[in-house]
C-alpha cells in the first residue's frame, strides 16, 4: 500500500473546522494534506478509497475504556481491545488504570504503551491512577506517569471518597495540565446496591442505588473544581440531577466536562427485568426521565463526550446470580450505531455526535486527532450510516461477549478505520444497505 490515499465521494463531517459537505480527503505519509471539493480523481500512485454514500469523519476517540491488560488478559488484552476499537470506528482509546497491577506508576504506563505499539492498530493513551492502588488514600506519582505518557488521571472503578484527596488531586494534576476523570459514587448512599433504586428494584427484590449517590458527588467535585481551578471530567453521567448540576456549573464558567455512555442514553432499569446481568453496570441504568436528561445533555453540549466505558468480563463472571455478577458491559463495537440512533430519536445532529465522539475527547485529553485539519494525523473513520447489521456477540473482535445489545438490529457502522494513513479495519461487504429513499 502506498503512502498516498484518496478518500473520495463521501460527506466530510468535521465539526472542529465547521465542515459538513461533500469533500475528498487526500492523505500523504500519514497526514491529511487536502480536504477539497470532490472530483479530482486519484492520480497514479494513489490508493483510492471509495466513500460514496458514507460519512468521512475524524477518527473516533473513546476516552473511557477498560483494556484489562496487565492482569486480566482472560477478559481482554490491549491487542483484542484495540481490534474491537478499530471495528467500532475508533482510531484512539484512553484506557483506565484499574488493571493488575494498577497503573499507578511510570513502569505500568510504559508497559501499556509498549503493548499498544506492538499491537500496532489504534492509538492507546493510558490514564493513570489518582491514588496508589486505587485505594483512595495516597496520591500516585502523577508527574512520573505524565512523563511516561498518561493523558489524564482517574480512579475509575472506584470513587474518591475523601473530599480532601480529591481537592489535592485537582490541584496537583493541574500542574501537569491534565484533567481528573471522576467516577461519581457516594459509597455510603450506594450502600452495596446492584441496580437503580426505583419501582423495578422494588419488584425484583434487589438492593437499589438512588440517583443521589451520584449527584451528591457531582456537586462536591464541581465545588472543588471551582475552589481549586482544576479541571474535572465527570465520567459516565447517568442521572438527570447530575446533568443539571453540570449545566449550571458550566454556565458559571467552571472547568467541568461531562461524559455519557451509550447504554445510559439507550436503556432504562427495565432492562434488568428477568435478572439480566448484562444490564448490570455501575452507575446503573436509570429511569426514563434520566435517559431523556442525558440525551438533552448531549444535545446542548452539557455532556461533551460520548464514551463507551467498555468493560469486558468473562462469561463465568456474568453467568451467575445477579448479586454476584460483575458490573459492566463491552461497548466499543456498539457505541457508534447506538449514538447514530440519537439523530432520529432525539433530534441530535451528526455534527454534535462527532464532536462528542472525536473533537471533544481530543481536546479534553490534549491529544492529536479529533479533526480533519490539513496537517493533522490521518486518523479517519468512514461510516456508512445506512448499513444494516445485527449485533452478534459471537463474532465480536473483543474477547468478551457481555452486552445487552445482542440481536439488536442496527443501522450505521464504520466501514473503514484509518490510523496515521493506514487502514486498520475494513468492513466486509456482508452488511445490508437500505435502498435510498
Amino acid at each position: 500500500m502506498s503512502s498516498r490515499l484518496l478518500i473520495a465521494g463521501g460527506t466530510v463531517v468535521d465539526p472542529a473546522n465547521g465542515v459538513h459537505a461533500s469533500c475528498d480527503v487526500l492523505v500523504l505519509d500519514g497526514e491529511i494534506v487536502e480536504v477539497a471539493a470532490p472530483g479530482h480523481g486519484a492520480g497514479s500512485g494513489v490508493d483510492l478509497l471509495d466513500a460514496t454514500g458514507c460519512l468521512v469523519v475524524p477518527g473516533l476517540i473513546d476516552m473511557h475504556v477498560h483494556l484489562r491488560e496487565p492482569g486480566y488478559e482472560y477478559k481482554e488484552t490491549i491487542e483484542t481491545g484495540s481490534r474491537a476499537a478499530a471495528v467500532g470506528g475508533f482510531t484512539a482509546v484512553a484506557c483506565m488504570a484499574n488493571t493488575n497491577p494498577v497503573n499507578d506508576s511510570a513502569a505500568v504506563t510504559e508497559t501499556i504503551i509498549e503493548k499498544a505499539r506492538a499491537a500496532n492498530l489504534v492509538r492507546v493513551y493510558p490514564i493513570g491512577a489518582v491514588t496508589m492502588g486505587l485505594q483512595g488514600e495516597q496520591l500516585a506519582e502523577i508527574g512520573e506517569m505524565r512523563r511516561a505518557g498518561i493523558v489524564a488521571v482517574s480512579d475509575d472503578g472506584q470513587p474518591i471518597m475523601s473530599g480532601e484527596l480529591m481537592r489535592r488531586a485537582l490541584e496537583y494534576a493541574g500542574m501537569f495540565g491534565i484533567p481528573v476523570i471522576a467516577h461519581e459514587e457516594d459509597r455510603g448512599i450506594a450502600c452495596g446496591g446492584v441496580m437503580h433504586e426505583g419501582a423495578v428494584s422494588l419488584r425484583l427484590g434487589l438492593k437499589g442505588v438512588p440517583s443521589a449517590a451520584e449527584t451528591v458527588m457531582v456537586a462536591r467535585d464541581i465545588a472543588l473544581a471551582e475552589q481549586t481551578g482544576g479541571r474535572v471530567h465527570i465520567a459516565h453521567v447517568s442521572a438527570a440531577g447530575s446533568v443539571e448540576l453540570i449545566r449550571s456549573a458550566k454556565a458559571r464558567g467552571i472547568a467541568v466536562t461531562g461524559e455519557a455512555s451509550p447504554h445510559h442514553f439507550t436503556l432504562t432499569d427495565a432492562a434488568v427485568d428477568g435478572y439480566n446481568t448484562n444490564a448490570k453496570m455501575n452507575p446503573p441504568l436509570r429511569c426514563e426521565s434520566d435517559v431523556a436528561a442525558v440525551r438533552a445533555g448531549i444535545r446542548d453540549g452539557t455532556l461533551d463526550v460520548i464514551a463507551s466505558d467498555h468493560a469486558p468480563h468473562h462469561r463465568d463472571e456474568k453467568d451467575v446470580e445477579f448479586d454476584a455478577a460483575l458490573n459492566g458491559i463491552v461497548g466499543l463495537e456498539t457505541a457508534l450505531p447506538l449514538a447514530l440512533r440519537l439523530i432520529a430519536e432525539a433530534d441530535i445532529p451528526i455534527d454534535t455526535l462527532i464532536r462528542a465522539m472525536s473533537t471533544n475527547p481530543a481536546r479534553i485529553l490534549g491529544v492529536p486527532g479529533g479533526s480533519l485539519s490539513v496537517g493533522a494525523p490521518a486518523d479517519i473513520a468512514i461510516i456508512d450510516p445506512k448499513r444494516r447489521w445485527r449485533v452478534d456477540p459471537a463474532v465480536f473482535a473483543s474477547k468478551s461477549r457481555n452486552t445487552p445489545f445482542g440481536g439488536w438490529e442496527m443501522e450505521g457502522q464504520a466501514v473503514a478505520t484509518i490510523v496515521g494513513g493506514r487502514v486498520v479495519h475494513r468492513a466486509t461487504i456482508s452488511g445490508r444497505r437500505r435502498k435510498s429513499a
Binding site: 419501582a199 425484583l204 427484590g205 427485568d273 446470580e321 445477579f322
Partner: protein, 324 residues
C-alpha cells in the same frame, strides 16, 4: 391448570392462586389421619438446597414431601461444596445430573431460582430468594385467611414491619392484590420504599394503619438491621411498631393476627398477642405443610416437560401455565 416452576406470585392470576389454595385445602385432611401418607410421589426424589439457614421452612417441606411418599434430600450451604467455592450453577448442575424430580431452593440472592430455572431441567420451587419472593409462605398465609374468612375479596389486610427487606411481604402483596384485598403497609419510613405507594396504602402510624382491618400480618425484625441505622434501637422500634393489645383493639373484633415466624416476642409482636385468641400463627404452620404438599403434587408428580418445549424467557418465569 399446569405449573412448571413456582418462582413467585407476581403476575399470577386470581384463578391460578385460588386453584393452588383449593388444592391445598384438600390436602389438609391427610395430616389429620392416623397414617399421614399418600403414595402419590412414591419414587420421586426432591432435593432441598438451602443457602440460608432455615429450620422451619426446610422441615415443613421435608414433612410435606414425606407425607407424599417422596424421598427428600437436603443440602445446606455450610456443609456443602459451596464452602469449597462451587458456584450456584455448578451445584445445581451436579444435582440435576442426579435426576431429582424437583429442587427446592432458598438463596440470599434475589433471582437465584430464576437463574436455575433457565439452566436446569427439573421443576424449581422458590423457598425464598433474597428480598424478592417467598411464594409458599404467602400462599399458606392466604390459605389460613381463607379458612377463617371465606373470601379475600375486599378484605383489609395490614402488613407491619420491615417491608423493605421482606420477601414474605412482597409475595403477599402480589397475591392479596390479585385476590382483591385492600393492603396497608406499616413501618418506619426507612423500611418503606417510596415506590410502594403505587401498590398499597403506606403509613408510619401503627394505630391508623390497623384501624378496622380484618387481618394483621407482622413481620420479623432482624436484629442485624439495628446496626444499619434503619431505626436507632429495637426498643424504639417496638415502642412505635410492636403489635400490642391496644393496637389489636383498633382492628375488627374478629381480626386475625399472623406472623411467618420465628417470632421476636416483645419486639414486633407482644407475647400476649402472639398467644392470644386472635392469633392464627400455629394454623399457619399447619397449613404450611398442606400447602407445600399441594405444591409438590402439582409440580413434581407429572411428566417432565421436554427441555425443547421450555419457552425462552424474556421475563423471569414465575409460574408458567400451559394452556388448558
Amino acid at each position: 391448570m399446569t405449573f412448571r416452576h413456582l418462582l413467585g406470585l407476581e403476575g399470577m392470576s386470581c384463578e391460578e392462586i385460588l386453584y393452588l389454595l383449593d388444592t391445598a385445602a384438600s390436602f389438609r385432611e391427610i395430616s389429620e389421619r392416623e397414617i399421614k401418607k399418600v403414595p402419590t410421589l412414591r419414587g420421586k426424589t426432591v432435593v432441598g438446597v438451602f443457602y440460608e439457614a432455615s429450620t422451619r421452612t426446610r422441615v415443613s417441606f421435608e414433612i410435606a414431601a414425606k407425607r407424599m411418599s417422596a424421598d427428600f434430600v437436603s443440602l445446606s450451604a455450610s456443609t456443602s461444596s459451596v464452602t469449597k467455592g462451587e458456584t450456584l450453577l455448578d451445584t445445581a448442575r451436579n444435582l440435576a445430573a442426579m435426576r431429582p424430580d424437583g429442587i427446592i431452593l432458598r438463596h440470599p440472592s434475589s433471582g437465584a431460582p430464576h437463574f436455575l430455572a433457565q439452566r436446569v431441567e427439573c421443576p424449581i420451587i422458590n423457598a425464598g430468594d433474597g428480598a424478592h419472593e417467598h411464594p409458599t409462605q404467602a400462599l399458606l398465609d392466604l390459605l389460613t385467611i381463607r379458612e377463617r374468612r371465606g373470601s379475600l375479596d375486599d378484605l383489609k389486610v395490614a402488613i407491619v414491619g420491615d417491608i423493605l427487606h421482606s420477601r414474605v411481604a412482597r409475595s403477599n402483596l402480589h397475591a392479596l392484590r390479585a385476590l382483591g384485598a385492600e393492603v396497608r403497609l406499616i413501618g418506619p419510613p426507612t423500611l418503606l420504599p417510596r415506590a410502594l405507594r403505587e401498590w398499597a396504602a403506606v403509613t408510619s402510624d401503627l394505630a391508623e394503619g390497623v384501624r378496622g382491618v380484618d387481618v394483621i400480618m407482622t413481620l420479623r425484625i432482624q436484629r442485624e438491621r439495628q446496626g444499619a441505622n434503619y431505626f436507632p434501637s429495637l426498643d424504639e422500634y417496638s415502642r412505635y411498631f410492636c403489635l400490642n393489645q391496644a393496637a389489636v383493639r383498633l382492628a375488627k373484633p374478629d381480626v386475625l393476627i399472623m406472623h411467618p415466624g420465628p417470632i421476636n416476642r416483645g419486639i414486633e409482636i407482644a407475647s400476649d398477642v402472639a398467644d392470644g385468641p386472635y392469633s392464627v400463627i400455629m394454623d399457619q404452620v399447619t397449613n404450611g405443610v398442606a400447602l407445600r404438599m399441594a405444591v409438590l403434587y402439582l409440580l413434581v408428580s407429572g411428566a417432565q416437560q421436554e427441555a425443547s418445549e421450555a419457552q425462552p424467557v424474556a421475563h423471569a418465569p414465575r409460574l408458567r401455565r400451559r394452556a388448558g
